[in-house]
């Protein structure tokens, strides 16, 4: 049986007395696009740095395509494209020269690099900058080149650590489009991407793994997020400003798990059917004027982070 493209087994990383990754085990399915979510300091970047051989785990193992990254980095990282944080490039090289260097390191012939370079630069919208020195590039431009070099030689695994970090909104959207195109056009491609942006993960990923305090707290299909444990989120709008009394009345409903005030909105997390909630909210006589679907990923994320605090 083919191994999972990425597998973490009891991974642990300590810095002095601080545990950044704590017994983390996670299997990434082939051809999935997994979003790695978690608050600052949750251990996302540390995990990805272990996976890309930038740091060694204190204990446990990280495998890529069946190879232990710490023991066999050359074999493990073959066919893997990475963008970790915002990398810097050799400023004295141009993007074309950089691709030639990286391409040579991974075993591409000069002809293969040349033919892919124009295509990739077009994809990340950097064609006009192909022969300019990288030392003159802005952070956003370097991030595009970083994504470009990760695409060299059509990798089967791509590891991205906040790939849209530092980009302006248009740049972010363009990078997301590149990633969507990749998913659509490539048959054998597994992507792991850490991100702070829940909507980005919701937009791109089909799997979500959430970590907090270095531990895995959730790992499932993104479609399962909204229905996991039967929990749903609805946002209630009322004619008058919501108050604590109204929140109390909503909480009194037996199947309502939590009610929060979010500005003029009332966020209701509940188990059961929506129709029951609709009729009960109407019956409570709290001046409801709208009930819409809430952000289930955000809701789930906050719930899990709260639980594992």
């Amino acid at each position: 049986m083919e191994p999972n493209p990425i597998e973490l087994v009891g991974l642990r990383k300590e810095y002095g007395g601080f545990t950044a990754v704590d017994d983390l085990s996670l299997a990434i399915r082939r051809n999935s696009f997994t979003g790695l979510l978690g608050p600052n300091g949750a251990g996302k970047s540390t995990t990805l740095k272990i996976l890309t051989h930038l740091i060694r785990p204190t204990s446990g193992m990280a495998f890529i395509n069946g190879y232990d990254v710490s023991e066999n980095p050359k074999e493990a990282l073959a066919g893997v494209g990475t963008v970790i944080e915002t990398p810097e490039f050799y400023g004295y090289l141009t993007p074309r020269e950089t691709f030639r260097y990286i391409g040579g390191i991974i075993g591409m012939s000069p002809e293969a690099v040349s033919s892919q370079t124009d295509e990739i630069l077009e994809k990340v919208r950097m064609t006009d900058w192909a022969d300019k020195k990288l030392s003159t590039f802005s952070k956003g431009m370097r991030q595009r080149i970083a994504l470009g070099q990760a695409l060299l030689d059509d990798p089967s695994v791509i590891i991205l650590d906040e790939p849209t970090s530092g980009l302006d909104p248009r740049g972010m959207a363009e990078i997301r489009e590149v990633l969507k195109d990749l998913r659509r056009d490539t048959s054998d491609l597994t992507i792991v991407m850490s991100s702070h942006m829940l909507h980005e993960v919701q937009d791109l990923c089909d799997r979500v793994a959430m970590v907090n305090h270095g531990r895995l707290v959730f790992n499932d299909d993104i479609s399962a997020v909204s229905t996991v444990a039967g929990l749903e989120t609805m946002v209630l709008k009322t004619e008058s400003s919501p108050d604590e009394a109204m929140v109390g009345r909503l909480r009194s409903l037996s199947y309502v798990v939590d009610v929060d005030l979010n500005g003029s909105d009332v966020v209701i997390r509940f188990r059961g059917s929506r129709s029951r909630l609709f009729s009960d909210v109407a019956a409570l006589g709290i001046g409801a004027c709208g009930l819409s679907e809430g952000d289930s990923l955000e809701s789930k994320y906050l719930e899990l982070i709260k639980e594992s605090r």
Binding site: L54, V80, P87, E88, F89, G104, I106, G107, Q149, S156
Partner: protein, 276 residues
């Protein structure tokens, strides 16, 4: 279909080639080149500007130039090798290179090869130019240069090792460069001087071993000792204790090779454990 990753030797060559390009396109290399040219120009033209011109045997003229060889080697180590490792971390280029399918040993060897080759080639050219000038002025072909050149290249090896060790520990390239220069020029010399004062033969110290670059040239030893005798006679002082001994190339060469090997091994150990 996945491309086959090249063997370690091919990857070492690629890393070394990129390092050489990095240095050749940098201001540091321009500065280094200017310094070498300035030394050759001053040594050659200044005597003529002052009226005397270059005189003496081919060996005397040649050894005059080679007197600056160890300083040029030190500058090479300071400008290139001292930045080689630390720059990957300081400039965050490690995030691109280290995440690729190649071993840390490959990266290390590639960087070492580039630093050694660059300074080594400059020194070979410096020797060649010195030989040509000595021949042009004296009409004599200095044939005794080979041991000195070998000692010089061993000194390049040793100083590259020291510089890469410092580079593997430091967090800033500038600090690494200053520490390399100070360590080789000052700290090691201070230790040697203190040991000598305590009656210890310091043949194994890097600065003592490096003196073989000039002391392996017979003409240099002879003319230096002649000068010492002449000065001693003028001052009425016995200078026999200060006479220069011809270099023991095996001992000095062995010492420099050991300095290079030990410091490179320590540098690699530190580099391979260094995390981003």
């Amino acid at each position: 279909m996945m491309t086959e990753t090249p063997d370690d030797l091919t990857q070492t060559y690629m890393v070394a080639k990129n390092e050489v390009i990095k240095f050749l396109r940098s201001r540091k290399f321009m500065l280094y080149g200017l310094l070498v040219v300035a030394i050759v120009a001053l040594m050659t033209l200044l005597p003529y500007a002052l009226g005397d011109g270059l005189s003496g045997s081919g060996g005397d003229i040649f050894s005059g130039y080679i007197g600056y060889a160890s300083l040029l080697v030190l500058l090479g180590a300071t400008l290139f090798a001292s930045y080689s490792i630390v720059s990957e971390f300081e400039e965050r280029t490690a995030l691109i290179l280290f995440t690729r399918p190649l071993r840390k040993s490959t990266i290390f060897l590639g960087k070492f090869a580039a630093c050694f080759a660059l300074t080594g080639v400059v020194m070979v050219l410096y020797y060649a130019v010195s030989l040509v000038i000595a021949f042009a002025v004296s009409g004599e072909l200095v044939t005794s240069f080979a041991p000195s050149l070998v000692m010089c290249l061993l000194y390049v090896f040793a100083t590259t090792g020291v510089a890469m060790l410092i580079s593997s520990v430091m967090k800033k390239g500038g600090t690494s460069a200053v520490m390399t220069f100070v360590t080789i020029l000052l700290l090691i010399s201070v230790v040697s001087a203190v040991m000598s004062a305590s009656g210890i033969d310091t043949w194994f110290m890097l600065d003592s071993a490096a003196s073989s670059i000039t002391n392996s040239i017979p003409e240099y030893v002879a003319s230096s000792n002649d000068l010492l005798v002449q000065v001693g006679q003028e001052l009425g002082v016995d200078m026999s204790g200060s006479m220069i001994e011809p270099a023991d190339c095996v001992a000095s060469g062995g010492a420099m090779a050991a300095w290079g090997l030990v410091t490179l091994a320590l540098a690699y150990l530190r580099f391979s454990r260094r995390e981003f």
